[in-house]
């Protein structure tokens, strides 16, 4: 059996091993990758950047721990951006797995990065509510019927919405100036477009895992302002953010650093596809003889 033929029947466990190695080694180097922002990411950045101070941004973290490596950098970058522009940040989730992500966002981004912002005046935790797209649908007619109180955070207890300054002007989803959905499946950004953006005209943008991204392109740019597709999208947003706010430093470059092993792994997979085809054509050629 020739080398190429052996290659064709390679035990897939060798492939597994090679993938593990090609991610581990570059990861240990901790270097940010050079990234150039694409228009679809730039659009989202500009849209949020153009909101006047005091505008209300609804950020929904609709993902679970499994996609944290991709989704967290997006949510964190958008939250950082919003607070640095003095926007009001309303954080919620329609995934049951979301609440710990919100706490994590507060702990790792807002508290250390924005010590002069106040809970309840500048940012708010609306927590998780059951209902999937039905919940979004009901928010278009009445927000307060669903969110009768916030969730609080850490030692800050939950309060009825009537006592929260940030909630005084919120009646329906139309009262938000921007909806940013960070999602990894259903319900997610697509449902925000279908059930909130389309019926009310409120601008919707956000980020999704790379898998979901192609699904959302048809909505761009009319129904969806901009889109962060996977880790690369997050890295591009971070690049824009760091370019305009160098003071954020390394804490805001998580995705940029992860893009390096990512690239190496892509190249390894690309060479697998190439090798697979070479061995296939070689074998076919031999059979023809």
């Amino acid at each position: 059996m020739g080398f190429l033929e052996k290659l064709g029947r390679l035990d897939r466990r060798w492939i597994f091993l090679l993938i593990a190695v090609s991610v581990t080694i570059p990861l240990m180097l901790q270097r940010p990758a050079p990234v150039k922002p694409s228009p679809i990411v730039r659009n989202l950045y500009t849209a949020i950047d153009a909101l006047p101070p005091g505008s209300k941004l609804l950020l929904s973290l609709d993902y679970g721990p499994s996609t944290v490596p991709e989704n967290d950098p997006m949510a964190h970058a958008i939250a950082r951006h919003a607070l640095s522009k003095d926007l009001k940040l309303y954080v919620m989730t329609i995934w049951a797995t979301g609440p710990p992500l919100i706490s994590n966002l507060f702990e790792t981004v807002i508290i250390p990065g924005f010590p002069n912002k106040t809970y309840g005046e500048d940012y708010l935790n609306l927590g998780y509510k059951v209902g999937n797209q039905g919940l979004i649908q009901s928010l278009t007619s009445d927000f307060r019927n669903q969110y009768t109180q916030d969730v609080g955070w850490g030692d800050i207890a939950a309060r009825p919405v009537g006592q929260i300054p940030m909630m005084s002007t919120i009646r329906t989803i139309k009262d938000f100036d921007f909806i940013a959905g960070i999602g990894s499946g259903q319900p997610g950004l697509k449902e925000w477009v279908q059930f909130a953006g389309d019926p009310t005209g409120t601008p919707v943008g956000g980020g999704v895992t790379a898998v979901e991204a192609p699904l959302l392109y048809p909505y761009y740019p009319t129904q969806l302002v901009g889109l962060l597709g996977g880790l690369a999208g997050a890295a591009e947003y971070e690049a824009l953010l760091v370019e305009n706010h160098p003071e954020f430093g390394e804490a805001a470059q998580v995705a940029l650093i992860r893009m390096f092993p990512q690239t190496v792994a892509h190249l390894v997979i690309v060479s697998f596809v190439l090798l697979g085809n070479i061995s296939y054509f070689a074998q076919r050629g031999r059979r023809r003889k």
């Binding site: 990861l27 490596p69 991709e70 389309d198 790379a210 898998v211 996977g230 992860r258 990512q262 892509h266």
Partner: protein
């Protein structure tokens, strides 16, 4: 050893147990799998109880009894309309009693009605009508461009979408035989679908690698904790 160290160790060991499946099925994987199934099934049951049954059913029917647990129930009047889901929910449980199990179909029928009725208009508008609108608004040749190359690219891009959507729809046409010109259009439609699949594939690879990076970062923090 403090609690966070325990968590880190449990997490890291379970991670390694599951990764061991890549080599082959083994007792460690079986252990992790069975533990995960049990814990996650209970996780979702608890979510259903505390996030759904308590606030959205019990607290709506008897707000007074739950105002100490659910802040929002304080001072509310009972909403008797919520007897309907209570009854439908109980009817569903008749499935446990074989002689009257057919009764549970009433609840299923309600759910199917909800599924059909809420999906129909929304898919119609967002995924059919709006997609047609966006396609028919494209001019087939660019009406303005800065230079000839841009003009060609604009026109080609629009033609690709225009032709791609029409041919793709032909592929999904069920009630006509795919032969002749119709068959050729259908074949072109498959090509367009294949490009879309390829693009999805490329994007997905990216996402999957990102997940592995996240997991390896976790194992890295575990290993660093040794020192």
């Amino acid at each position: 050893m403090d609690w966070s160290t325990v968590q880190l160790w449990v997490g890291a060991l379970l991670t390694l147990m599951i990764f061991s499946f890549l080599y082959k099925d083994n007792p460690f994987y079986k252990f992790a799998e069975h533990l995960f199934v049990g814990v996650s099934a209970a996780y979702w049951m608890v979510q259903g109880f505390w996030q759904q049954i308590v606030p959205n059913l019990l607290a709506k029917l008897a707000p007074g009894s739950f105002e100490n647990i659910i802040e929002a129930a304080r001072g509310q009047q009972p909403e008797l309309v919520y007897i309907i889901p209570l009854i439908l929910g109980l009817i569903l449980l008749t499935r446990l009693i074989p002689s009257i199990a057919w009764f549970s179909r009433w609840s299923m029928a309600f759910i199917i009605g909800y599924t059909a009725g809420s999906n129909l208009p929304r898919y119609l508008v967002s995924d059919f009508i709006k997609q047609v609108e966006k396609t028919l608004a494209l001019p087939l040749v660019a009406t303005h461009a800065d230079n000839w190359l841009q003009w060609i690219m604009y026109s080609v891009s629009n033609l690709v979408v225009f032709g791609g959507v029409i041919c793709g729809l032909v592929y999904f046409y069920f009630s006509k035989e795919h032969t002749g010109a119709f068959g050729r259009a259908s074949r072109a439609g498959i090509w367009v679908l294949m490009v879309a699949f390829g693009a999805s594939f490329g994007y997905t690879v990216m996402a999957r690698i990102s997940l592995l990076i996240g997991r390896l970062e976790f194992l890295g923090s575990w290993i660093r904790s040794f020192t």
